[in-house]
Amino acid sequence: MTLVYFAWVRQKIGIAQETFPAPPNVKTVQDLIDHLQRRGGGYADVFADPARLRAAVNQEHAPFDTALSPDDEVAFFPPVTGG
């Protein structure tokens, strides 16, 4: 699984992208959020309040109950502010 971060999510975590070998209990975006939050540091800060976050799976907007597969690209970012 590839994880990508944008805007203040990227700034707090400190990296833009990482490879993540998902353990078997990470079945949805919400599972992934719970898992990453337990890493502490910037991750704990970012994922402590998931209501401030949005996710995309394979470049499509994805609610947190979206199921994940090992080859997915999962992105976390704040609500978009373009235009």
């Binding site: 944008f6 805007a7 970012f77 978009v80 502010t81 373009g82 235009g83």
Partner: protein, 148 residues
């Protein structure tokens, strides 16, 4: 119908873009455009736009497909700038060509509303020494809901 979607740092030339749109088809009678500009109020010194390459083009592409299904359109150009922009700089262009103005205006507003709420862009404001990420406006979410 041809759709031009570009994500770029450089500014754009409005004459060239409108000519490119209207030169393609003889039935065009109306071109509605929206040009977004970096507002210089609140002491803003610079605005930096970040995006999610790949997802951006995909999301804008699906907005364009949805617009084409709703209105009889003859051409669409969407340009969104990225990187650091100064107050007064142009940040986005949405241009929609159609035979008559009703469809062109509606589709242009629709595309702006969807772009604002679906395309993965984020704005960071520099106000002197202070840096802040722009928060989404509730009015943008409300505007997008009109089309649901």
């Amino acid at each position: 119908m041809i759709a031009h979607i570009r994500i770029q740092q450089e500014d754009f030339d409005l004459n060239d873009e409108i000519e490119a749109l209207t030169g393609e088809t003889s039935g065009i009678g109306a071109v509605a455009n929206f040009v977004g500009v970096v507002r210089g109020d609140d002491g803003l010194t610079a605005l930096t736009v970040e995006h999610y390459p790949g997802m951006t083009e995909r999301q804008i592409g699906s907005c364009v497909e949805e617009a084409r299904g709703r209105w009889p359109l003859l051409g669409i150009t969407i340009i969104h700038r990225i990187g650091t922009l100064q107050p007064g700089a142009r940040i986005v262009l949405v241009a929609v060509a159609a035979a008559h103005r009703g469809a062109a205006f509606s589709a242009c507003e629709f595309l702006m509303d969807y772009l604002k709420t679906r395309a993965p862009f984020w704005k960071r404001e520099d106000c002197g020494d202070e840096v802040r990420w722009v928060e989404p406006r509730v009015s943008d979410a409300d505007a997008a809901k009109r089309w649901a």
